[in-house]
Amino acid sequence: MKTSSELRLAPGAIVTGKWKRGRYRVERLLGEGANGQVYLVEHGRRLYAMKVGGDAVDLQSEINALRALASRRRAEPFLLAVDDFVHEDGAEYPFYIMRYVRGSALHEYLLREGADWFPLVGYNLLVKLAELHEAGFAFGDLKRENVLVGEFGRVELVDYGGATAFGKGVRQFTELYDRGYWNAGSRTAEAAYDLFSFAVLCLHLFEGRRLLQLSQTLLPQNRSPAELIRLTDGHPQLKPFSGWLRQALRGEFATAREAAAAWQRIMYGGGVKAVRKRRSSSGWAAGLFACTMIALAAAIAWLMTEGVLPSGLS
């Protein structure tokens, strides 16, 4: 098998499974991870995501993690088919078909929909991590690009290339999010490893510039959770969660469930203040509403006399 970076499937290309003969029409490239490429494909008039790997063993490790997760989850299945195909260049590529999740990467979502979504999206992400952990796996390579957010802050983890059974060495990680890189612990797959990455992810979202600066200027031996903790209470979005972030960076949560519950308490415990100022005097707002209603009534009356609206409406 070849490395998938050499592969480029053009829109309209037909991929036929070697073993199960399923036919998939390529719509476009969705993204590229360390272990392969993800395409949007059509099959039986429905859209799916197809991950094509360069290496059958690497891809199968990922599939094993997805299978373990699927056996625990009652929700609709994420992994739908596994097969190989023979490319026109003669090389064989393994692939799997998964549910297509419409959404955007976490940072893009918050930029577009507003940072008000941050506490909820964060909570949903912690729940996703908890589900994976309860299936016996750490996600490993948690970062902005691997968190897809759909409608109303629904979260899906994508790219399971780093998913690692608890107790083993994390298979794939990104330095900036890595506990070992920050001299904050081992690379053993466990709940606290993902929670550390989650905390760095929060910092990356709101203190990105300062975070990158830290990683570029600090000497390797001086990188430490303490340096990261200093970034936790500068930004108004992070401030309510600064205590939580400190705990995550120090590895003090035993499980993602516990961490999610703590996050939830902050979310609903009045710790989170809307960044926009609340309208304090409801009096003038009520007045404004009354004026609007009068204007509306006047407009309807005018339209009716002009005969634009059917009189039956009144």
């Binding site: 063993v57 199968q60 094993n64 299978r67 596994v82 190989d84 083993k168 060495g169 070992g180």
Partner: protein, 241 residues
């Protein structure tokens, strides 16, 4: 599992060819990986071919990276080589048990179990990685990054469930000019080590091949129980050159 990782930035210019040395390593069951390390904007095109050849002869892989990518590359290469080594062994078994040539030849639904075994063995099999560092003049500004990469590798290896050890060597040798110096004997913990690469020589030679032969010898001595290293050091030199 035995790996030799060579980190260099130029061509060898003394003694036995490093490509020959890499082939020797492979015959001893040692996989040779090579990283060519460059500073921003630096080109080592003259050395690229040799770097690639060494890795091919040693059954491993090669990469040219800048200092910032060094830690990740060392970590990734070591891990990938472990998986490949296990995979080769598993493929031999597959041929006997299933008559299948490789994991890829199995239908997807039967791969799951085999890959679980590969992952499990990759995690638990004993592993030894010898790092051989070129410390000639042009490498000097890059040695801080090399030390960081070594520490990072040890951290990754510590999370394996199997026994994992590294040893560190550098060349050229300040004494005879075409051997190498052992900076760290097999160890799984370097937390107490302040500086890894010490006693650097001022010589201008790059005896990559002879240094590799020394490291192969070091592996071999260890396999037979470590005795009389001083005496056999000279013998391996005569054997080969």
């Amino acid at each position: 599992m035995k790996q030799l990782l060579l980190i260099t930035d130029g061509c060898s210019n003394v003694g036995v060819s490093p490509v020959v040395a890499a082939a020797h390593a492979r015959a001893e069951g040692i996989t040779v990986n090579v990283i060519g390390v460059v500073e921003r904007g630096e080109s080592i095109s003259s050395a690229e071919m040799e770097i690639e050849e060494i890795a091919r002869a040693g059954g491993g892989m090669s990469r040219i990276v800048n200092t910032r990518q060094l830690s990740q590359t060392v970590q990734m290469m070591t891990r990938k080589t472990v998986v490949t080594t296990i995979q080769q062994a598993v493929n031999r078994e597959l041929r006997q048990v299933f008559g299948a040539e490789s994991v890829e030849a199995l239908p997807p639904e039967r791969r799951g179990e085999v890959v679980r075994v590969i992952d499990e063995l990759g995690e638990s099999s004993p592993l030894r990685v010898a790092l051989l560092i070129d410390t000639s003049a042009s490498m000097r500004p890059k040695l801080a990054a090399v030390e960081e990469a070594i520490r990072d590798l040890v951290l990754s290896l510590q999370s394996r469930s199997g026994r994992s050890e590294i040893a560190v060597f550098h060349f050229p040798d300040s004494e005879d000019g075409d051997g190498c110096v052992c900076d760290l004997d097999w160890t799984d913990n370097i937390a107490g080590v302040n500086r890894i690469l010490t006693k650097l020589s001022m010589r201008g030679t790059t005896p990559t091949g002879p240094a590799m032969m020394r490291v192969i010898d070091f592996f071999r001595q260890d396999d037979y129980g470590r005795t009389n290293r001083g005496e056999t050091d000279g013998m391996i030199g005569e054997d080969v050159v």
